[in-house]
Symmetry: D3
């Protein structure tokens, strides 16, 4: 996979591994069933049709399966499409891993987890420290790979922990400038604020909302967990309530999903840090391939604005 | 207390028991301390000044104390005021109870609780039944006397259970008309939707928001409790999640404090029933003393509207 | 019409009666005119092309005509289409009625009218009774078949009277629970609130807004009619004004089309009952074919929400 | 009434006629009843206390009575107050008329009515002409003296007809610039748009909302009257509907009280002309006494703005 | 160009001059490049495909080039399309001018400019006069041909000056009715309010936003220019500030792009006049081809309303 | 001024210097003029009445004069008031300076200016550097003492430069974390964003809006100045436009006073940094004197929230 599927042109022949992101059955005009496959690697996605399928193909070529494929890139109504010549599901022999086929955070998840744990070590309030440590440990496995969202920002493998680590560094530098801030609270708030997403979202490959995600949401799920953790760890004291409030209020306004607005200084700052990091991520990606003197695509979650790259800024490296 | 403090005119002399709702110290222009007492019985409130107090008076005449008082009703800048001639705190000998000095629901709290329990018995889903029973039992004592709000509607002793019982009857008659409704869910939702208020509000006498009430709110508190109850009772299954959603969404919109809107039919109906009962209560009280052909005072939580009593309607009985 | 057009698959041959809902002329690439027909029966709709038409066909195959048709169900770009082999307009000989080709209320319109009249008989205020009786009589014929809306809820034949009857039962049960309500007013409000729709909408087959419907709307039209009826019946007294206000305010807010908000208790309750019945209708239909554990389609007039059917609820019968 | 009550200083003795705008009974600290009178002439208002009243005084000195009064202007907590030495109600002998005691339009009401009738004569569509003529005649007496509002703009005697005449001249000049406008419609819309205020408001002296004004509002009242007038005059045709729409939509948006927005060109222009004339009136009065280089008081119905008078503009004449 | 491209039917052969409004390269299914041309004359636009192009064609047939073309009008999926038989770019020999191929104002631009200058001559405040004269002169050339917008209203050649002239006549007639208005300010405000559009928009042929138009907007651009002009002309005094405010506030509200609302009477009137003229233009065009008794297309910038032409109005001439 | 006026109790006698913040003439009930003085030092304010004044006193005891005063602190309706025994204006002999009587930033203004200049030195884009340097120099004197607002945040002497310096440090630490940010742009945006306040506000002592502040606002004023500076310095290039956009858009939304939203990444970040620093300042001050476990006063510009200080936080030092 030297080049990646996104770099192939119409007319190229390809032989490569690709991940099936979705598979949908249709009936052709000749009455025979076929599959529309959405195939991806780290660089992007391409559509392919698998014609004249047998019944067993429907259960073989499903979402999250990695396939080995041979075919040609064609033009179909202005879109690239992969014409399949041969396709087979991979086995252990192929030695391929899903993570290699999905866009992911630029840092190693385990290094990021180490950094989170380092921040936890720095806390001086033992109640906050124990609660945070407990919840990180409980969800550690999923935290390593969960995206931070299904779209808009940090919607890639390990996006959640990447978002947390960026926010921790931001929190540290802001707390150094405004020493009245309680660092323990702020770090714990950063680490826990979106941790409920490991239950709200179905996972890194096909990221969808779970039923409890839709009916309760990641905020309520994590507020509940903080309460349960305190019971389990037999931690009393206002720290529990305050941490629950930090998570509950981090969307800032009831219209944005927080039934209570931030009523503690660190909660307000947590909301702002979250906002800064999410928008930096959106803006950097929107401008990634934009030439100086030109405008980006519209960014929906930023009021549909289109950003300008000043003509005195540098060209993107890989253009 | 034949007549009640609200029925005395300027010029009357009174000798009666009254409850201190609040007590606030001030310094007179002669430099001496005094107390401004807000005194109440079931019929209303009156202000009194206690001049020239001794230090121990500050700790004697405090909120929730019932006092025996002699004095005259005077006019002070257009308001009635009680000029105190003698005042003493009551003891067991006086045989007076706080409940007699506060406005309260028109039904007996224990009868209402029996009715709630009757509705629980009618449930056929055992998980919903056990969860609801458990939580009612846990908060039974406070449920008997808690108001449903600090103002606007059902803001009196036992207001919460009175609101619940009215809603249960309403739920029953609606469910009979629309048989697709799940009565178990609807009844459980009615019973639990505001139960968190026993923790959000400080109690029936001086009803204020508690700290956890302000930082988390009654909705989040009860959602948490449902989860904890399920753990304790070892109840699994989607009923837990669905009940949590019923409580979470009963304010209807995120702007009104529900981070998720109702996504289950019974949750939407719960929201509507809550609305009907709360508004009926507000409207009945606003119109209570209004003569036919006249308008009520403005009702703040109903967009500040003033209601009209048609001239062909009857006069209030006790006018 | 044993099965209904909606139950035919691609490949089926059909011979049946269908109603033309709309007919639109086009010019084919060979320069010849053709008609695009939208055909329906109670179960649904299907599109058909009538190629190579003669001039008289344009006036024969028009909206509201019932045709006898033979043809095959084909696939056209993923949609079912009816390929016409033979088509003829029906005559009296065919003994078919439009009502059989349109979705309609589940109760008999005449039974529903009897129920409305029964409610009118129960009124004790003679002015309200006479006004209501007069207006129902005046529009009786159209009331029997009018839909309650062009879309969203009760948008079927006799939908209006079905909506009224459901609301009357709801009004009765609520008035029994809150005896301070004036039943006469409430029933009259329910019966008249949407009666202007018989003038606002063009009728049950092709339900569109009339010009007076667009320029004045059903609320203003009925408020005017109440005034005219009172003149005609020589009824004086505030009942006229109050009934006009009930109709005027039943949308609840000026943003929703009521220039005055409800200022009478029964007007507020009318608004709420209308809301409950409309939403129950929308929700029941959205969930009709949804399996337990799954979500419905989005419901546009309910803030585009998608509803969840709990997994412990029953499967739809006819799935 | 050479000077007017507003021009008297503290310390002056006055002997003059004044109109009682309101009269309110109170009980003095000595237990005796007194009246608080709000007295006015064209220049303004002053408060007076009538102490030690006899029972018959309560029914003599009531709202809309003109009194002859002798007294002194005093200062009471920073406000001017009239200390009454003698007071008596006037009789026919005094030859005083209410109109002389109220602020009023700068033109003669009968001249303005002549102008309105002249505009009606210029109409060429006989249906529009007859409807307009009929309704003006019906309400002619009240139209001559009604204010256009209880506050904000044209809230003085004959304010309504003054507003109409200004708008007619504005309509004429705009219609001359945009000849596609239908002058008949526009003039009729101007004349009828606020005519319902003669029923919505209680009259020129104590201008309050009537019950039908509160429950239906001037827009709905006039829309009804146009319909009734058409029946009475046996006028058919779309002109009736279109005129009703003009009145119905003239507030421009449902939030502002028009259940339908303007859907006819002349209706949109009517809304704009209304806006221009109302705001010119507000702005002129707000700036009347402002010196160049200074700001006016806040104007509530103009989003609470305060207007600036440029320093190169002229000083107000009478400063 | 007797008839214009908009009046040709499918099947016609045409030989005419047309302006290329846009040209976009595509790759056909046979792998060869082609151009999609959007061609226009004063009457409208048509699409054409230029197949099998040579590399030099890509730079020849570009936006703003006038071509001589022969071809046939065909139907392509319900849209008219021009099948090109021969095409060549024009030269000086063809004696064609771009202005002839674009919709434009119904008056001669130079006559309109004379009228603007006439209004400037009528001003009596020399500072306002000189500033206005200077800025008109500076942008005179572009003012003659600039549209007033890219869409919605006056979006044609010379649309800006046409809009200004209409508003000046409107301003004059309003100022005559309300003599308290400062005509100099009002006229200057009208002339300058949208003059920044000559920099905000790229020009009359392909009207797009410039970079400074997007980053600052026409309001800020013109406010800056007024300041610079005052420096250059060495004009002091509040007139400069007041004129800047007139331009700054003419959108009326911050949500509509004016950081300050109108705080001067003439600024408020300017905002209203702008609104009247823009809406008259939109409404006249929306109704141009509508038959009496029918509704127009939806007008997006007027809250998406559709306007009704009363059935007693006249038919459009050219229908 | 060891203690400061805010620390004196009712009953204290004082002899001290105080600054007159405002002086207002009134007429006493005995007809004699008096002055109501608002007096302040760094710690707070107190009211005093100067009775029986001579005409020259009105011009002596005016705003911004420092007086030497002897008197007693009294209680007047629950407020402290200073009863004046003797008062005289100060002269050079008193050696008192206004700055000593006003709340001010905690850092030395000249040190802060040095820091700003240091940041300018670090810029590498010479155009941005020169423009920023020029404008800082031009307004240097006022920048040293101007507040950042009339209320809400940084509303003290040198509040503007204090706000700028805090934001610069914040900008630096954020830019270090997100290296894609253009530091030059960000620093220049921070330094210039509120610099227009030196013209919008009247100055540090009696901080009111100037006329140009009200009619144009600080944003428009500074955008104009950047343009003028570029002309003067003969700087071309997009840097000018981009800097103008940075200032123009820094309020984030049109409703908040920015006619264009941020369309450049650094502009968005500038808006966020401004928000963080302003809110930290508001929150720190609101919580300054709050005890752990208690709530602050309501903070109006933060949606009227009241902040909670967790009970595990420390007590304020000086309580």
């Amino acid at each position: 996979m030297k080049r990646g599927i996104n770099h192939h042109q119409v007319g190229d022949s390809v032989e490569t591994y690709l991940l099936i992101k979705s598979s949908k059955k249709g009936i052709a005009s000749n009455g025979k069933p076929f599959l529309t496959l959405q195939l991806s690697d780290k660089t992007g996605e391409i559509e392919a049709k698998l014609w004249g399928i047998a019944p067993e193909d429907e259960t073989t070529f499903v979402s999250t399966v990695i396939v080995h494929i041979q075919g040609d890139i064609q033009d179909f109504r202005g879109m690239r499409q992969l014409k399949i010549k041969s396709i087979r599901p991979t086995t252990g022999m192929d030695q391929v891993k899903i993570a290699e086929f999905l866009p992911s955070a630029p840092l190693d998840p385990n290094d990021m987890l180490d950094k989170v744990i380092q921040y936890i070590f720095e806390m001086s309030n033992p109640k906050i420290q124990r609660l945070t440590r407990h919840l990180v440990k409980k969800h550690q496995e999923k935290l390593l790979e969960s995206p931070a969202a299904t779209k808009n920002h940090h919607e890639f493998v390990s996006g959640l922990i990447y978002h947390v680590v960026s926010m921790l560094d931001l929190a540290k530098s802001i707390a150094n400038l405004y020493p009245s801030l309680d660092k323990d609270l702020l770090y714990a708030g950063v680490i826990l604020h979106d941790l409920g997403k490991v239950r709200e979202l179905s996972g890194p490959i096909v990221s969808e909302y779970t039923i409890e995600g839709k009916l309760l949401g990641h905020i309520t799920l994590m507020v509940n967990e903080i309460g349960e953790a305190a019971k389990e760890l037999e931690i009393d004291g206002e720290e529990v309530l305050v941490l629950q409030h930090m998570v509950l209020s981090h969307h800032g306004k009831s219209e944005w999903g927080s039934p209570k607005p931030p009523l503690i200084k660190e909660a307000e700052i947590l909301h702002m840090i979250d906002n800064v990091d999410a928008k930096m991520n959106m803006m950097d990606r929107a401008l990634e391939h934009v030439m100086p003197g030109e405008f980006s695509e519209r960014i929906f979650p930023m009021e549909n604005r289109t950003l300008y790259k000043p003509s005195f800024h540098e060209k993107p490296l890989e253009y």
